[in-house]
Symmetry: C2
Subunit: 525 residues, 2 copies
């Protein structure tokens, strides 16, 4: 298959006419062919018109047909074979096993949403039967189901070129909900985006769905992105990226005549708490696990452990010494893009110059461009509390250890934290009471709490929450990973006294979809 | 019981020191004692500090205890007896049976939420068990529950002094979710608010809950309201009122360092579609039902039928003639406040002067102040499409009939509508195909669709949706009436590999709350 540099407006391969983006191999700083000219306002318009035209048809596809579509996308992505793997590696600098694993995760994610669509729990069907004899007033027959919001704009992430990009979690969950999707490809991996986009377009055709169900746009700068968010036919936005980018999209979405929800996953430093007994009895293992989690994928994960909180003392000193040795020996790794590398260097440089923190150690240097080194810093609780800059995310393999004089300082540091995707507790039995005391605060601060694990690695399952209070995300009521992500793209509609023939299948008296309805307050078996 | 003019900051009766509000009996234009001095920024601060201090304790009250608290509020409201009824009548001009009925609805609503809290479905418990042997990577034990967002600010509505005010739907659903509540009382019924607020405070004490679970503030202007929405300890807002008021709160909430959700129910004109066969065979009955719904409660309902859409012709002419006769004979009614009466007069006056519409008839005049007369207007589809002003809500007993030349004009008018709380279809069997063709559009436009009924009258039940796309509400993903309203005040948290002793009761291995969990993808029986 030859890459074309074209966008996809529905099934139509269309070349943009604005300034082109071009992928750069971060391992060599060499640009990759082809160029991807940016879309125009008219092309954004066309994609939105097509998505709008597709919406009413797509949203009423039978659940089985919609599930087969998601499975067909997974099949088509797998059928891309090595070309996809090679292009993604070239565009991201990520190693082969990581990209292969991510492809597996992406396809599993699509198939998981297919199962979710078929099961139909997300329809949240509620039926209150008529009570014509009720006094003083009769009760009408009332039935509720969830319907999709409308066309969704998805902004791919830089750090997951497959699993959180063109056919990633936002796209899969929006399509599962019954929403057409328009993806604005991330400028760092346009070739990967084109390959996956064409796979999705083939699945649309194979499943005989309305052609506007999926479009893929390219564009440098914010012209295409903001135009997309401001188009009145777009009804929700999914985004994974920087805090400033997410906030800009939120502002644009709120300023529309009809404001719409933006699900932006933005920034998190993922505090890790080391409790005394655990630190005392297995500090060396904790240091090994910590550095492995910190340096995995050059630290370019939303859930990277960027903050460690513990009581000062010999056990913590030993932990720091062991971790410092491991960080010191850790090889530099190619970062995703020159832009991300430069931002990381700036972030690390700013912390190194900050009098409130001290650098403990730096990892190995690399040869070639964009080589991110690991960094470890320490600070004291009072300095951390005094300086908000110490909470800034450094997207990469850098972490800050906060040494606390006592439990009260741990409590203060915890209360002082911004919203997070995760918080991790390392504890032994003797630490339980201390951990328990911190839990109410942590539940307010983070979307996922872990015991004796590491936050990197996010399972795609029913119970996952990849979300959290601002600024981790723009909407703590949601998750962007796991099957509950579908709930972001739905709204309830109630049908009162409808004749059975006009009711959608999910609400008909005979319950043809065999859903477990909430019927007169009781959940059906 | 003597009214004091005091606010309630937790259990403490505190007098404000800003400009006082004073209720006015709209039937006489006479002010009612006592004066209610407005709260200061410091008093808002105190209420928020108390709510924050109460949050961690209140949110982990056992479900049974929380349900008993809601039931205790209902008991205490009933125990207020005639004093509450008389004060609410004096402050609103609403008749005895309406206020009695609304008290019943308010208490039933609290008891319904008590049942919902006990059933625990809203916890949405999801469990994915560990798979330590899974290849290539083991799966952790992952468990999700919903937790409350935090303290909620509630702005009472003018038109439901009990059911959507101090202990109304927003307060009941937020308390049910585990959120402390701070109510800013509506300036039109401060005495009713004080009585109900003291009933809630008694229930807090009786149930031995943290004292900051509930506060009640007064304030003229927006000083108290905006200060409340901007306090960092407030995590969500419930509001029912005008479009401009709702949008102002949304803007303030979005401009915070940590933006928060605002659930504002704002404006809706609730289109009613009269299909040909129904209009032909039972036009007179439809006209009677329409005028009854239109004039009920002086038309001061969010779901008042402010728009009628039908094909022009003799059947519609007959409908208009019958409705005009009924409207002409309908007595004037005392409106809720001088401000609402004046706004209604202005809205009706503007439409009467608008060349795109013609006044058909006006109801009877009344004696005394604030007497709202019913009004009926007609327009043609092309005029309606040409003039956005014809979609402006006139809060009161006024409605506009849109005469359409053909089905295509009906389709265009429907597509042109802003978001609505409700849309109503009057149809006979012969109209089914035509109605079916309109349904996809109506599902995009409204939160509740009715067949052969009238939109006034909103059942409090599981299947109700009192919500809809902007500007009907600020968040179409939610409902403010019915048990699903609790979902507005929750967010998910995931617990990974937690030892059982640290898990909350809802997630423990033994399932002590006997919830129907989603366990490894299967719903438990």
């Amino acid at each position: 298959m030859t890459l074309t540099g074209n966008m996809l407006i529905g099934p139509h391969a269309i070349c943009g006419s604005r300034e082109a983006i071009r992928a750069i191999n971060p391992a060599t700083d060499q640009p990759l062919e082809p160029a991807y000219p940016g879309g125009t306002a008219e092309q954004v318009e066309q994609a939105c018109a097509l998505a709008w035209a597709a919406f009413d048809g797509y949203r009423e596809t039978p659940l089985g047909a919609r599930a087969e579509f998601l499975e067909a996308i997974a099949d088509e992505i797998e059928a891309l074979g090595d070309e996809l793997i090679e292009r993604a590696m070239a565009e991201t600098g990520l190693p082969l096993p990581r990209i292969q694993g991510e492809r597996g995760r992406t396809c599993q994610q699509l198939r998981t949403f297919a199962r979710t669509v078929r099961a139909g729990e997300w329809l949240d069907v509620r039926v209150d039967l008529a009570q014509p004899q009720r006094q003083p007033l009769p009760r009408a027959d009332l039935r509720q189901r969830q319907v999709p919001l409308g066309p969704v704009a998805v902004f791919g992430a830089s750090n997951f070129p497959l699993a959180f990009s063109v056919a990633g979690g936002d796209t899969a969950s929006a399509l599962a909900a019954g929403c057409p999707v328009i993806v604005k490809a991330h400028g760092a991996h346009p070739g990967t985006s084109e390959l996956v986009g064409r796979a999705v377009a083939r699945a649309v055709k194979k499943c005989d769905l309305p052609e506007g169900v999926f479009s893929l746009l390219f564009g440098s700068g914010r012209e295409v992105g903001i135009a997309l968010v401001c188009d009145p036919r777009i009804k929700a936005v999914g985004f994974t990226g920087s805090r400033s980018g997410g906030i800009a999209l939120c502002k644009a979405a709120q300023a529309r005549p009809e404001p719409i929800p933006v699900y932006a996953e933005m920034s998190s430093i993922n505090p890790v708490f080391l409790f005394p007994a655990a630190l005392q009895t297995r500090g060396e293992g904790l240091a090994q696990g910590f550095v492995a989690s910190l340096t995995q994928g050059a630290g370019q994960f939303c859930t990277n452990p960027g903050l460690v909180i513990a009581r000062q003392g010999p056990a913590l000193d030993d932990f720091i010494a062991t971790a410092a040795g491991l960080v010191h020996r850790s090889p530099a790794q190619t970062m995703l893009t020159p832009g991300i590398f430069n931002a990381y260097q700036q972030g690390v440089g700013a912390l190194a110059e900050n009098a409130h923190a001290q650098r403990v150690v730096t990892g190995q240097t690399g040869t070639g461009p964009n080589q991110g080194q690991a960094h470890l810093f320490v600070t004291r609780a009072q300095d951390f509390l005094a300086d908000q800059h110490l909470q800034a995310e450094m997207f990469g393999a850098a972490s800050l250890i906060v040494q606390c004089a006592n439990d009260e300082e741990i409590r203060q540091v915890t209360e002082h934290l911004e919203g997070q995707l995760t918080a991790t507790l390392h504890l032994d039995d003797a630490d339980l009471d201390q951990a328990r005391a911190l839990l109410p605060t942590l539940e307010r601060k983070a979307g996922r709490l872990l015991v004796n694990g590491w936050p990197t690695g996010v399972e795609v399952c029913d119970a996952m929450v990849h979300g959290g209070p601002f600024p981790a995300t723009s909407d703590p009521r949601t998750t962007s990973v796991g099957t509950a992500a579908i709930l972001r793209f739905l709204r309830p509609v109630c049908y009162q006294d409808f004749p059975d023939t006009l009711l959608p299948a999910a609400l008909k008296h005979s319950n043809p979809l065999q859903l477990r309805r909430l019927l007169d307050g009781q959940r059906e078996a």
